[in-house]
Symmetry: C2
Subunit: 475 residues, 2 copies
């Protein structure tokens, strides 16, 4: 017996950030939509991503400041001790509150939300359990999941990922973190600050996705003061006696109780039946799509959010959902100008990458302004005067093109710089804004002045040139 | 015997931030300058202002976070105790390092720096001790000093100001802070956090210079959770038994061991002999000056920095020094576009005022966007989700005109907003920048979205409109 497909205007696969953002736009043009979600509702961000990791980081950072307090006249800091089970409960409590907020949204959507796994049987038709859903447009927003190498998958709970880390009742004494990208660095530092013996590994020579060797070296220097980092060698894992694990990277061999795999995320494409949509897939199983409209050529399908591998960040996933949702029922999809690229790693000091990356710029056409934050006024008062800001400007007009930085409060500087890049501002224009005193933004100003002094000896009077390089003692 | 005056191109009175900034510009055009300074060298900022207060605030804020730690799984916080003498030593140690940096600058200037009090004897001639100095242009940059009401001056060391506070070996148990402006609030909160019983007073009904009643009310609500504030009544002071002081404001009577007078600053004009320059002075003894060029009409004299009472902030003083120094020997002085007004109070949460003030705007021409930060994602993870941001936009085009806010990390938001105002950006343009997740800037975005939704129902597709108001649960 042939199943008669149910007919919809739009079907969205995945109720994460991208899928829900798409739905909000779809709802403006039609009520005849369906949202299909496999596995837990609640978005990667809220369940296992940004939220729990930032809760952990907030505690670890504050706990770490006991060293600053001890040096500045606060007695009794030696009595402070992290109660890991209590702290993990705190993280889950906060996390659950967020997830609750998201679940409320999907709950209120009612019957048009289907729990189940969607699989293409035709370019316009999905099989979900015993139902067939046919839609004029289908939006794939299935997200991604942590990569765990095949041989590690037999090691059970000793190999943790962001999916399982925050579910632990407590954490063991010795943990290796493999993969020094954003998540790996954030977790390695936080856990080390909480008293766990952490060792970090990465096959690459740089960390946190930085492409500027000077900024990466600065970050490595600072981080390795808190936990050892072994870079440039692949890590292999083997079971050891008494439930321990032995991790080997080149000539380094470390015995640990658990490993956090932070090796990046795999696109959730398996089982989607994309081979049925009649489009050639690449080696990851990804169909080709237009990066402007996020549509897959020749079919009425969009692919948005983490699953397309392009900009796996919450705010970009939301934008992609908006774009796909807006365009879903349009014959001629509209293109959108995407936001200035922005990446932030919430280690301490923060690491951030804004605009064009150092590795992508032509050194002959680029002037670099930089500041070493050693001795920076405000940071010194917080016992945190360390870091490096490097900003890249075009040699012709002095426009800010990109920045890589490792700097306390860098997450805020990153937003300021992103606005500057978005508006196409020159270093001189940025130097016309007020810099209050004493703030970390004055450190950024030193980098701007450095670029300005290298860009031009133009002596037009301009308050942007007030307080030139070298006058920092007065600030 | 008549003294023969020494002749200079430029004389600068005052070796503070404004005077030294002026000197840097003057040195570009002449070597024949003289710098006269009365009292200690080293700038108000470094000696008694920004630097020591921020050092104290950094310790107090970190110490205060023991409450957050206790709630999140860190044991032993009850053992923490502020050792006030050690903490004050720490503050002075940091402060002395800064002052040292500034003194090095004045030391290296050599003989052209004169220690002494300058007094005008002619519009172009100064008396300093037994020397007479005649200059083609004179720059007055004598700064300001804390106001202490006449009757309080007999109470000795029990009445402290920013000049004397950081010199104390320790601090008594009970302190009243009179004047809830920037400095008063910063010190009152910091000392309360360190365990001192603090009471705050101000004759006005608002605090921290805020002109928006809603933001002021929010700040008062938060601050009064840490120390009692008595507003709207003038405070009177009388000696009490055993060296104590009784402070009375309306029906409130509090006995304290010391009072911090933070009632604003007096312009250092006394004894300058300005009555000799042939210009009518106002009731404060201030000569009229052009706010664009900072020149006093009809004479070759400029008046810059705190002493002119216009923008008593370090970065503005430096700009005014630059303007006066640049123009000193020019027949036709150049005007400069001043920076966007920016004021920051470093209490916790920060208070800031950017651009046009609420009180100066026409309510009929202004659309207010606001966000209450209760529940804001990132702040909640830091146990700090409280505050209010109110931004003012022009009703015609949606351009951002000004902001008043009380918000954690507000000092950074203030710089972002100042850049936006400087560039004349609209709310929609600001919403096109990337907002990472999870950051406090997302709270600001909610205020921008609020303004956007009130400004226009324009439905042009635009990523600025991705994630409209009400979708914050997903962020």
């Amino acid at each position: 017996m042939k199943t008669i497909p149910e007919r919809f205007d739009v079907a969205i696969i995945g109720a994460g950030t991208a899928g829900l953002a798409a739905l909000r736009e779809v709802q403006r043009t039609t009520e005849n939509w369906v949202l299909i979600n496999d596995g837990p509702f609640g978005t990667t961000c809220a369940r296992v991503g940004c939220m729990p990791s930032k809760a952990l980081i907030a505690v670890a950072k504050t706990f770490h400041q006991r060293n600053f307090l001890a040096a500045t006249g606060i007695a009794g800091t030696e009595s402070l001790k992290a109660d890991l089970p209590a702290m993990l409960r705190h993280v889950r409590r906060l996390r659950d509150a967020y997830v609750g907020g998201v679940l409320k949204i999907t709950d209120e959507l009612g019957e048009r939300v289907i729990a189940g796994r969607a699989r293409f049987v035709q370019p316009d038709t999905l099989q979900v359990g015993d139902r067939q859903l046919c839609a004029r447009h289908i939006i794939i927003a299935t997200g991604s999941c942590p990569i765990v190498p095949q041989p590690w998958q037999t090691l059970g709970e000793r190999v943790l990922t962001s999916d399982t880390l925050f579910e632990q009742k407590t954490l063991p004494d010795r943990i290796a973190v493999v993969g020094m990208g954003a998540l790996g660095i954030e977790m390695a530092q936080a856990l080390a600050r909480l008293g766990i013996v952490v060792t970090g590994f990465d096959a690459a020579e740089h960390v946190a996705g930085l492409s500027d060797p000077a900024v990466s070296a600065c970050a490595i220097d600072i981080l390795s003061g808190e936990f050892p980092l072994h870079l440039g060698q692949s890590a292999e894992l083997a079971p050891e006696e008494e439930g321990a694990l032995c991790i080997t990277a080149g000539s380094t061999k470390v015995v640990v109780d658990a490993v956090i795999a932070s090796l990046g995320r795999r696109l959730n494409l398996d089982g989607l039946g994309l081979e049925e949509i009649g489009v050639a897939l690449d080696e990851h199983g990804l169909p080709p799509f237009d990066p402007g409209t996020l549509r897959i050529a020749a079919v009425n399908i969009s692919i948005v959010g983490d699953v397309n591998g392009m900009r796996p960040l919450l705010h970009e996933a939301a934008d992609e959902g908006y774009i796909a949702g807006h365009n879903a029922l349009r014959d001629t999809p509209e293109c959108f100008t995407r936001r200035v690229p922005l990446g932030i790693v919430f280690c301490d000091p923060n690491i951030a990458m804004i605009g064009q990356r150092f590795k992508d710029l032509d050194p002959d056409q680029t002037v670099v302004g930089e500041v070493d934050l050693k001795g920076q006024g405000r940071l010194r008062m917080e016992g945190a005067d360390r870091g490096l800001i490097r900003l890249y400007t075009d040699i012709q007009r002095g426009r800010l093109l990109g920045v890589e930085l490792c700097c306390p409060h860098g997450e805020h500087l990153a937003h300021l710089l992103a606005l500057g890049i978005q508006q196409g501002l020159t270093v001189r224009e940025l130097l016309r804004m007020p810099f209050y005193h004493p703030v970390v933004e004055e450190g950024l100003r030193s980098a701007l002045r450095d670029a300005d002094s290298k860009l031009s000896d133009d002596s037009t009077p301009d308050l942007a040139r007030c307080g030139r390089l070298g006058a920092e003692a007065l600030e």
